[in-house]
């Protein structure tokens, strides 16, 4: 049973990692704590649900759709609202993104009611057995896609011009402007990419969890802890910390009971802040000076 719990934790950990990358990047690059991030996750899940229910589209095939839709939404919100807020006070972004989250959740509640929905793909019930451990196929798919997307985003930052511009802006906003980079455009690009990853998370999460307006918020504690544990703005940190968090949660559930998972998560958070505030892979990004 311990091995089963460990496997479950690792499989969920992949999803937690991808849920956090966008949040962590936005924080690292522009110093904004985006509380609307969990709203993007929820919207991504509803896009997958809608396409599955009304068009019969496979949940995995809808990932690109929710990524593109969330990229557009994240980009637009950054240009229309957050770039203006950043000019006055970074900490206002907490309040503003909370407001945006409220709008998203309420809009979805009105459109879809607060009923719990589910996405049942044809392979939802099947699982494979490895050394006596049952591995549900959907969880394996979700974890696999999460890690693949994480690696793809890492490669995007390292090996493309746009990615390099994002990293440069994160390291030093002033100097990157001197190099001819428009920071506000880079912020919008980062916000869009972060939202797209959240949308993909939502699509994957819709296969594992019930789809409802409040589902995004259930990721909030995990996203906080993993961001700080992995080091703000670190993609590789998010993936590794996601697995660590998944394991800790699974073991906490196994040894102490499911109710203690949140408290253990909070304890881990305080421990990291006290012992290694820069996280596992943290660097001095712009967001850290805020």
């Amino acid at each position: 049973m311990l091995w089963q719990a460990t496997a479950n934790g690792l499989l969920l950990g992949g999803l937690y990692g991808i849920a956090t990358i966008g949040f962590s990047m936005v924080w690292g690059v522009m110093g904004v704590i985006n509380l609307a991030h969990t709203g993007f996750i929820m919207l991504g899940a509803y896009i997958t649900y809608g396409l599955f229910r009304f068009a019969g589209l496979d949940p995995i095939a809808s990932i690109p759709v929710s990524m593109i839709a969330m990229f557009a939404l994240g980009y637009a919100l950054q240009v229309l609202v957050l770039n203006r807020i950043i000019r006055t006070s970074l900490l206002l972004s907490l309040v503003v993104t909370f407001g945006i989250e409220l709008v998203m959740v309420d809009a979805v509640s009105i459109a879809f009611t607060s009923d719990v929905r589910s996405v049942n793909s044809s392979y939802a019930a099947s699982s494979i057995e490895v050394f006596g451990i049952l591995v549900p196929v959907v969880r394996l798919i979700a974890a696999g896609f999460s890690v693949t997307l994480g690696i793809a985003f890492f490669a995007f930052l390292r090996f493309t011009r746009a990615g390099q511009m994002i990293l440069a802006t994160a390291l030093d906003r002033e100097v990157s402007s001197l190099m001819g980079i428009n920071p506000e455009r880079i912020y919008a690009l980062t916000a869009g990419a972060g939202a797209a990853l959240a949308g993909a998370t939502g699509s994957l999460a819709s296969m594992l969890f019930p789809v409802m307006p409040g589902m995004g918020v259930t990721f909030l504690s995990a996203v906080f802890v993993i961001t700080v544990l992995g080091g703000i703005g670190s993609v590789e940190g998010c993936i590794v910390a996601g697995f660590i968090y998944g394991l800790v949660q699974a073991w906490a559930g196994y040894f102490l009971g499911a109710n203690y998972q949140e408290i253990v998560g909070f304890g881990l958070f305080l421990l990291v802040l006290a012992l290694r505030p820069q996280g596992l892979f943290g660097r001095a990004f712009f967001g850290e000076h805020a």
Partner: protein, 326 residues
């Protein structure tokens, strides 16, 4: 606007301000004689939020530590007073318990958490808020856990009871405002603002920054816990999700921004304006009030990030310069 205030002018303005404050307090204290139950409830809510916002003002406005999850002390205050009353304590004793317990929690948690800066502190308080909900559910027993906690009912009939709660909430708002005004005149108040404007420099000047910050947070928590304690008695049934609702903290945050951070009367003004606005919104858009509230948050932050007084002043100045006065 251009004439710099001479010392006697400043004193006269302060005198005028306190005269208005005293008159306002007396009028509000007598208001229950004329108000119907609906407006009594609206005003009680306004006072409650003004008190919570004043508590937030101490740590955010004066000290510069953005305790985004400060509503956690509202919940602790509510539960402390609820548990005390369940165990048979009278209401005044329960209120003392609410203030003391909230301040104590802030004092203990503050030592590690207040070493964090900026965003780290902000999300640590949010995490604290989320963890508190789970904690109360886990503790169970005398707190009622996930099922919630019904408070013992008062012997008073509803009419006088609601008027009494109105007056207690009003007292909370007035006393917390006076407390902030008092703090601002003391060396402690100067120390807080020194920490806000440059913590390292404040340390160099000989301020024990950690102890000062913890004291400020304990005061902030005590004020917030008071509001929570009265609220619990008013509402008579509390549960973790409603007592520790993060939206309470966010609403107070909006009121603080709207009224002006670090000012004496700002939190009260912000609470009056925003609560009346959202009462209107609540009545007009039953389905979509969250959407309207969310949009309101975004608009306030875009239009008046430094408070409505500053926004209004700059609007007047722009109007004057455009229309060429003198």
């Amino acid at each position: 606007m251009s004439a710099p205030a001479s010392p006697s002018g400043a004193r006269r303005r302060a005198l005028l301000f306190w005269a208005f404050f005293a008159i306002g307090t007396v009028v509000l204290a007598l208001a229950p004689l004329a108000l119907n139950n609906y407006w009594l409830r609206v005003l009680t809510t306004v006072f409650m939020y003004a008190t919570v916002t004043q508590g937030l003002n101490v740590i955010v406005g004066l000290t510069g530590y953005h305790a985004f999850g400060n509503a956690v002390f509202f919940g602790f205050g509510a539960y402390a007073s609820g548990v005390a009353m369940t165990l048979g304590a009278p209401f005044p004793v329960a209120l003392v318990a609410a203030v003391a317990f909230s301040a104590l929690v802030a004092g203990i948690v503050g030592w590690p958490i207040l070493r964090l800066r900026g965003h780290y502190f902000a999300i640590a308080t949010v995490a604290l808020n989320l963890a508190a909900i789970q904690l109360v559910i886990q503790v169970g027993g005398v707190t009622g856990g996930a099922e919630g906690l019904p408070l013992p009912l008062s012997d008073l009939p509803p009419g006088p009871l609601y008027r009494a709660i109105y007056l207690v909430m009003l007292a909370g708002m007035v006393v917390s405002t006076l407390l902030v005004a008092f703090i601002l005149t003391r060396p402690f108040g100067y120390a807080l603002r020194a920490i806000r404007d440059g913590e390292r420099a404040a340390g160099v000047m000989g301020i024990d920054t950690t102890a000062t910050k913890v004291a400020a947070w304990a005061i902030s928590a005590g004020i917030t816990g008071f509001a929570g304690g009265v609220w619990a008695y008013w509402i008579t049934f509390i549960e973790p999700a409603s007592a520790f609702d993060p939206a309470i903290g966010v609403k107070a945050y909006m009121m603080l921004i709207l009224g002006g951070m670090g000012t004496v009367i700002g939190p009260v003004l912000g609470a009056f304006v925003l609560e009346f606005l959202s009462t209107l919104v609540w009545g007009g858009f039953l389905q979509a009030h969250q959407i309207v509230f969310g949009v309101l948050i975004v608009v306030i932050c875009l239009v008046a990030p430094n408070g409505m007084l500053v926004a209004g002043r700059s609007l007047i100045q722009r109007w004057r310069s455009r229309h060429g006065a003198a």
